[in-house]
């Protein structure tokens, strides 16, 4: 089974790249968009810091540039799972028929079909460029362990957010169109761009324990910079949340498929 799914994954990855190459102009425009968007945030932090003191709640300009780069890394991870966002539309249009009539996991197919390989690559290249430049320019020297743990923490955090996002999308099977609810949840992603210790305690707890945005930006950056109080604690919280949401997701997915109504045709 693993062999079959590895081969399929490879083929879907190839398709995701070929699919994007069908729209070359769109691809180059997307790169430009991504670069300009990050530049705006970096300029914003520079401006804010020029009005205040040397740092903002303990975050200096180099830290904030690294935080900005980290949002690109989490974005690069999320792009591989963009298919989950398509779930409401596919349920409402009856487009799961294609997966359910084939001998493969519909969830795998749903995610694999809409993997944004190119978008992920754009984000990753931009992130590496910004991170590399920032480390060299500002003299930041992360340890290998710090890099690996921060990446691991970020991936686990992304998994939790994806599971929550997927679970909200899954509500379509019961409630119909939940795209607004889904957008509402995605709004919380805006917090990713800011160090969460800048927010009041309640919001900080929310962003650590309920919607763990901190696990994909602030905490990995702190680990990367070697300033984390307890990297293992952050990792533990994210892992427990991932396990909890994986169980909820799996249980709901089985129920949801039995509710599928295959509209259209």
């Amino acid at each position: 089974m693993w062999r079959k799914y590895s081969r399929l994954l490879f083929r879907f990855v190839m398709i995701s790249f070929r699919d994007m190459s069908e729209f070359r102009i769109d691809f180059f425009t997307s790169i430009l968009h991504s670069l300009i968007y990050q530049a705006i945030f970096i300029v914003f932090w520079k401006s804010v810091l020029s009005f205040t003191a040397k740092d903002l709640g303990g975050w200096s300009f180099p830290d904030l540039v690294i935080l900005t780069a980290f949002t690109l890394v989490s974005n690069a991870v999320m792009q591989w799972f963009a298919g989950l966002l398509q779930l409401p539309r596919k349920v409402l249009k009856g487009e799961l028929d294609k997966y359910l009539s084939k001998p493969l996991s519909p969830l795998f197919a749903l995610v694999a079909e809409d993997m944004n390989g190119m978008a992920s690559m754009q984000a990753m290249v931009s992130a590496v460029l910004i991170l590399g430049s920032a480390c060299l320019y500002f003299g930041v020297h992360p340890t290998l362990g710090g890099i690996l743990v921060s990446l691991l923490l970020m991936v686990v955090g992304c998994v939790v957010l994806l599971l929550i996002q997927g679970w909200i999308s899954m509500l379509t099977f019961w409630w119909g169109d939940v795209s607004r609810l889904s957008s509402l949840f995605m709004l919380s992603g805006e917090f990713e761009r800011y160090p969460i210790n800048l927010f009041p305690l309640g919001v900080r707890r929310l962003l650590t324990w309920v919607i763990p945005i901190g696990a994909i930006s602030t905490y990995p950056v702190l680990v990367f910079l070697g300033r984390a109080e307890s990297a293992v604690r952050y990792l533990g919280i994210a892992a427990v949340l991932a396990l909890f949401w994986a169980v909820v997701f799996r249980f709901s997915w089985r129920k949801a498929l039995a509710r599928y109504e295959a509209f259209g045709g």
Partner: protein, 343 residues
């Protein structure tokens, strides 16, 4: 051996209650409470399909055809009843079961929209775990039969409906399925494309013994491909048997005539009273004549008028099915009227 075995199969969907109330308060209540009810789409149907048979599944829009086919393919979970295809319960053993079936949905593409056809087919090869050699051989064979070799490297979204449908059918057959389900595969196709598809399906059925379950609006497709048909109306199976038996039961013939001159109007009117006038212009008539009286009525028509044209049309499956639906609809209206009066 039975390929498909269905007993008392039902499927209901939840839908918002339409109580007809239009006031602002009623709308507000509907918005807050959102009451819903179970609407039956398929009701208690039972049938068997032997291996190797080609069977037509007919019905009007919303009659439950697609819902039935989606329960048979494991896409939908039935609300009640038993469904077994090739010994599998489709919705429970979906992954093992779908290795042995093919599905074509006329109104939806099962290929990947933005990539070339050949890439979708290769993806299917990996999904079904088919060997590269078998895949190439069968693709070669089918590409020639359905004349799709030139479009294999074109993205699906650039194909015409007819070409896309041919590609879909090839995709559904490459992995050697034992049963294929075709849900309105000829919808929107021109005459030539339909003909090619039907020839191909007949050949596949004869050469590979594939069981074909075909739903369609088009009675001619069923007449040409199947000996047996089932008719579903409002979720209920109202006929299951040979098409020839259905036709033999038809007690009317259609007579079309073009009149040059009426010689004896009283006699003509007498003849017309013995049949049902379906269409009429100043000089033409389309009549439904009881079979037992057809010879006499035609004799009367010939003696009462000078005709430039006379056609006696045996019943087509289309006319029979149309009549069945019409009669059932009238019966339902009548029952509703009686109930309303009683209330």
């Amino acid at each position: 051996m039975q390929a498909i075995h269905v007993r008392n199969l039902s499927k209901s969907f939840r839908a918002p209650v339409r109580d007809g109330a239009t006031g602002i308060l009623a709308r507000l209540r509907r918005f807050v409470v959102n009451p819903s009810e179970e609407l039956p789409a398929v009701r208690d149907i039972s049938f068997d399909v032997p291996a190797g048979e080609v069977v037509g599944f007919l019905g009007a829009n919303g009659s439950g055809k697609s819902t039935t086919i989606k329960m048979l393919t494991g896409i939908l979970t039935p609300s009640a009843g038993l469904v077994e295809v090739l010994g599998y319960v489709p919705y429970r053993e979906r992954i093992a079961y779908t290795h042995h079936i093919g599905l074509v949905l006329g109104q939806k593409t099962l290929l990947w929209w933005n990539i070339p056809v050949i890439d979708s087919l290769r993806l299917y090869r990996d999904i079904y775990g088919q060997s590269a050699k078998d895949f190439e051989q069968r693709l070669d064979h089918f590409a020639d039969l359905l004349e799709i070799r030139d479009i294999l490297h074109m993205p699906v979204r650039k194909l015409s409906l007819g070409l896309r449908m041919r590609a879909e059918i090839v995709a559904s057959l490459l992995h050697r399925p034992r049963v294929i389900f075709l849900d309105e595969p000829t919808i929107g196709l021109d005459v030539l494309a339909r003909l090619k598809l039907k020839r191909f399906l007949r050949r596949v059925n004869e050469e590979e013994g594939v069981t074909i379950f075909l739903t369609t609006h088009n009675m001619f497709d069923v007449e040409e491909l199947c000996r047996r048909c089932m008719i579903i109306d409002k979720g209920r199976l109202i006929y299951d048997g040979d098409i020839s038996r259905l036709k033999a039961n038809e007690k009317h013939k259609i007579v079309e005539l073009e009149v040059l001159e009426v010689a004896d109007d009283r006699r003509l009117q007498g003849a017309l009273q013995r049949c049902q006038v379906l269409e009429q212009t100043a000089t033409t008539f389309r009549l439904q004549v009881p079979s037992f009286d057809a010879v006499d009525v035609i004799g009367e028509l010939l003696e009462s008028c000078r005709l430039s044209n006379l056609n006696v049309i045996p019943p087509t499956l289309e006319s029979i099915v149309e009549k069945i639906f019409q009669e059932r609809s009238e019966r339902r209206d009548h029952v509703a009227e009686v109930l309303q009066t009683a209330v």
